[in-house]
Symmetry: none
Subunit: 206 residues, 4 copies
Amino acid sequence: MGKAEAKKIHKLNTILDSAFELFTKQGVEKTSISEISEKAGVAKGTFYLYFRDKHELRDRLIYHQSSKLFKEAAAALDNVVACSGVKMKFDDKMIFIIDYLINQLSQNPLLLSFISKNLSWGVFKKALTSKTTDDEIDFKQIYYKMLTEEDTKFNEPEIMLFMIIELVGSTCYSAVLYNEPAGIEELKPYLFNTIRAIIREHEITE
Amino acid sequence: MGKAEAKKIHKLNTILDSAFELFTKQGVEKTSISEISEKAGVAKGTFYLYFRDKHELRDRLIYHQSSKLFKEAAAALDNVVACSGVKMKFDDKMIFIIDYLINQLSQNPLLLSFISKNLSWGVFKKALTSKTTDDEIDFKQIYYKMLTEEDTKFNEPEIMLFMIIELVGSTCYSAVLYNEPAGIEELKPYLFNTIRAIIREHEITE
Amino acid sequence: MGKAEAKKIHKLNTILDSAFELFTKQGVEKTSISEISEKAGVAKGTFYLYFRDKHELRDRLIYHQSSKLFKEAAAALDNVVACSGVKMKFDDKMIFIIDYLINQLSQNPLLLSFISKNLSWGVFKKALTSKTTDDEIDFKQIYYKMLTEEDTKFNEPEIMLFMIIELVGSTCYSAVLYNEPAGIEELKPYLFNTIRAIIREHEITE
Amino acid sequence: MGKAEAKKIHKLNTILDSAFELFTKQGVEKTSISEISEKAGVAKGTFYLYFRDKHELRDRLIYHQSSKLFKEAAAALDNVVACSGVKMKFDDKMIFIIDYLINQLSQNPLLLSFISKNLSWGVFKKALTSKTTDDEIDFKQIYYKMLTEEDTKFNEPEIMLFMIIELVGSTCYSAVLYNEPAGIEELKPYLFNTIRAIIREHEITE
DNA sequence: TATGAATGAGCCTTCATTCAT
DNA sequence: TATGAATGAAGGCTCATTCAT
């Protein structure tokens, strides 16, 4: 029973993994379905049993990978809060999460490259807002929970998030992958200060 | 003599223009050399007399277009300074230039899209640093001149520039093209404040 | 026992029906076995338990459908003869049958199209001559019976039948499906007169 | 100059010939573009320089082949009329042409098969009515000229032509290719008599 | 220099057929 | 018997690149 099912899932994962590796190495456009199939040790026709085309595969990959990342980051934050017992402020939480993400992506530059090139704000919003399935988490909910736990209130929280994410995303890309204009560790202090500045700017001061 | 030369340059420009129009409309990957040649009214073989391949063409195009933009912006700033006679502070100059660029790109979303998708910090640096040819200007020089004219001094001016550019680039892309998470005009105040914050952060206070 | 048997026959018929619908709608070549199986609610592999390939299925379908049609026509003729009690002449019988067939096919253009495209004289002869199975009738026998009941005798009756059938088949195809060069009702008088002429020509006049 | 042009035309003809041979041998559906190219000694891509797809090629082939045939037949008739000096009647002319066509097609059964399977009345009408180009003749005009030269007048001449053509086409197909229900020569007397009967039927008798 | 016909590798996709379950 | 995942050959088509003119 479950045997056939399990085999199928295993094959699906093999294809996903092969595709991910190729996409990150050579880019989506330059990866052919032949290559993916071959690397997965699967006939070309088999690919089409699992995906309608390359774009569906790509979308599922982005969705899956970025969800995983955010889930880990959120879990790490929870863990720290729970262990230390100290109440963190909003900007510290934010920085913690971003630092976590940067560290993860620094260790996996290919993932960074893949996400940077394929993850637009639109896809991001959809991915992180959509119904929570088995694996995915609703990041938006976490974000708003973080906001309400705070005493301070914020103007336009969505714009605030947007600016932080765009800033982080684009600066990391260059710093991690090309050490330009400086390595990521050198950049971090400036980056984090800028993030705090952005947050401060959106604070509603009575 | 000059005639043949002029004809050649004219043909080159025709190819560049055709390619730019197609690249912005359909993307680089989905534009074939056949299309470019046809639109330029040139035989397919002729293309190869001017460019080694599509990528060389693309790079020259980015180079050319972004130089033109910055040149305009710098000229506009000069003009304002000259006319008003008032001495502007560094951050105001920066904001002026960025505002100018954003306005230009808002009117030409295809150009924005093209630049965003193909302009990495690496290409940018190269484009804005390289020797001044007929048409290009050395933006870096302008930037450093702006810095030295100031009384204040700055830490890591290159990182500062980098962060500003990355922030502007990525936020504009989404705001102008998709109005996400808000229209560009609504976003501007936050964006400009953040830029000022970045600059402030890099100021060396004795 | 009988139950399993019945189930099997039912499955067979489901496949036949699905195939017929698809063949008539899209043509034989453009119908895949996947489609047929899916429409029949049967696994793809199951198809091969009933048919060697698509062509065998197609032949059985033609056979079955045309037999059914002729059977109906013959029955209708019998009925009229029985009811009216009048002795009909050969050519009137022929016209009656053909008129019946035309009317049926006019109401079912897809069937007409399917038969026209796939029914050659060879298949036709085989279908109408072969041993009477459960459903099929021996039309040839009926034809010869019709001939012997007549006082008049005919030269080359097979050629006569052939010419009538070919004439009717090809003219109906265009007239019913495309109203070209005229609608079937407008065509009928000419067609029937021609049939009578053909028959007359084959009469042996002492 | 003309050299390249001539070469191109030669290549076009090579492709047409190869395709015709394969189409007649195996049918249009079962002939692939790879096969055509290979047989023509041409790269696959070259095919697409001359035709958009297989159907365009098929249509041009039908058009060309059937025009050629009718042209020959009409010329032969003209020749006979001119030489003999005798005035032929309409039905004799018709039979002459049909006899000529049948004889041609008997010698070239593959052509007969190809035309029969791909030439519908619609295509026929279009092919034989369309503007006379270099190679094609306006058969319709010939037909109507034949009619007006006659003393007798005819009812519904288009239906008359239609019935003759359909009868001839479908009976020849079986008789020539399969000798069913009899060889073409044996069939001819019956066929021609039927044609005369059809014509007679359309005569307007005062 | 300029042309554009020719190439052929390589892409995406479909589908009849097999076979382990 | 029945299934349906897997196969891989084959098809249609595109396109960067070459080369004789």
